[in-house]
């Protein structure tokens, strides 16, 4: 194996979900299908590498700055969804259920990791809200202890800013069976019960 191919294999093996063995399989696949797999992959990687940027408005990662979501005129500018990480933004946007724009905090408050408010883009969020035009902020943090602590902290910082601060519902997941749910989830589901429509 040439050193270039070896370098490619090693680079792929460092990706999440891949190890040395699966990286070799991927490389062999690319080499066998040079025109249909390797060349398009190289082109796509080069295009992303050339234009990769972090959106100065929302913190999303895109090949444009501001990102495609922030510049999309069809988006509802009065609604803002705050998420912990870019992965959360992509997950929410994949569902196409949220019509507004986003704000990526860049993590969550964590006493363990020494992550305080100064390491998150909370001031940038407050700045966006202070500019006006936003009526509702949805805090879409993970339903973990750190996620919820962050959510409460951000909600406190947004208090008095003249926006409605919302959080995601917690409870029965779609496809969830009662027998397999933990007490905390069941308690939340009961607390958030509503009339049958």
């Amino acid at each position: 194996m040439s050193s270039e191919i070896d370098a490619l294999t090693q680079a792929l093996a460092r990706l999440p979900g891949l190890g040395p063995r699966s990286a070799r399989r991927a490389v062999l696949h690319l080499l066998k299908r040079r025109e249909t797999a390797l060349v398009p992959l190289v082109a796509a990687l080069q295009a992303v590498a050339a234009g990769l940027a972090t959106c100065e408005i929302c913190g999303n990662v895109d090949t444009r700055n501001p990102c495609g979501i922030c510049t999309d005129p069809r988006r509802d500018v009065s609604t803002l969804c705050v998420v912990e990480e870019v992965a959360d933004l992509w997950a929410l946007d994949r569902s196409r259920l949220f019509p507004g724009r986003y704000h990526v905090l860049g993590g969550r408050l964590s006493a363990l990791d020494g992550v305080g408010p100064d390491k998150l883009s909370i001031d940038a969020l407050l700045g966006r809200v202070a500019e006006g035009g936003i009526d509702e902020v949805v805090l879409a943090m993970n339903a973990t202890l750190e996620g919820q602590t962050t959510m409460h902290y951000v909600a406190d910082r947004l208090a008095g800013q003249g926006v409605q601060v919302m959080q995601l519902a917690h409870g029965m997941p779609v496809g969830g069976e009662m027998d397999y749910l933990d007490e905390g989830t069941l308690a939340q589901a009961l607390r958030a019960r509503r009339p049958v429509t």
């Binding site: 363990l112 202890l145 409460h152 406190d156 933990d182 905390g184």
Partner: protein
């Protein structure tokens, strides 16, 4: 090592793509760390939230090796995450315990105290009791680590009554009479730190946290654990704010 226990989850750090290194507080054997295979999976991650009680089995060939751990949920404290104060308290106390406790040193009183406080918060105890529980737990943690406060008698006179100060130097109580000339230099000693059954109001809670905070920062939150100071400051600010909003205007002093 082969250890089975019903333990409290303190922290869970991601390790590799799917696993997690988890610190558990066991009732009889102190804190232990273990590698949980699949600890970041959708199924296991909710089980490894701080504060949850889990049936854990830790196995390692030698004591110095990181043990492999298997866990099963016994009591979920997930509901604590959805309240502002209980979430902050749970995260802080779990992280504090993991940061300052030595691994493998038995700490049955700490386990019992943390378990009881988590149970009380899950059962909906008042914000005052929850906040007072933080100060009491910090006091106990100081004692377990060998930095306990002597709150039974006055450092100057030996008196056992009217103890309202703590000396920041000797960590011993000081009576009202002996401490009066040095009041500005002494720390407050509210009744809730001496008597676990004493009623706790917000000024007393603030005073207790001031005292435990002083000793924590001097004796335990040093070195790597100093990174917990901002988290503690945020919790104390939240407790202060909760006290301000909980005291109705007609009840407020003055």
């Amino acid at each position: 090592m082969h250890l089975t226990a019903t333990a409290l989850v303190l922290t869970a750090l991601p390790h590799g793509e799917h696993g997690a290194v988890v610190r558990f507080l066991t009732p009889a054997d102190g804190m232990h760390a273990g590698y949980v295979r699949g600890g970041r999976s959708r199924k296991i991650r909710p089980v490894l939230q701080p504060g949850n009680a889990v049936a854990v089995e830790l196995r390692s060939r030698i004591d110095t090796q990181l043990a492999a751990a298997t866990v099963e949920l016994v009591t979920s404290r997930a509901g604590l995450a959805f309240d502002r104060l209980t979430a902050a308290i749970t995260e802080y106390l779990a992280t504090l315990t993991a940061a300052v406790l030595d691994e493998g040193t038995p700490a049955p009183r700490l386990h019992a105290a943390l378990d009881a406080l988590l149970d009380a918060m899950a059962a909906g105890t008042s914000p005052e009791q929850a906040a007072a529980g933080v100060a009491r737990y910090e006091l106990l943690l100081l004692a377990e680590r060998g930095f306990g406060l002597d709150l039974d008698s006055c450092a100057a006179t030996g008196a056992r009554e009217d103890l309202i100060y703590v000396s920041p130097k000797s960590a011993q109580a000081v009576s009202a009479g002996a401490g009066a000339p040095y009041a500005a230099k002494l720390l407050p000693l509210p009744a809730l730190l001496r008597d676990p059954r004493a009623a706790a109001d917000w000024p007393d809670i603030a005073a207790a946290l001031r005292t435990t905070g002083w000793f924590l920062e001097r004796d335990l939150l040093t070195g790597a654990a100093a990174s917990l100071r901002p988290a503690r400051a945020r919790l104390v600010a939240l407790i202060d704010a909760t006290g301000i909003t909980t005291v109705a205007p007609q009840d407020a002093p003055g």
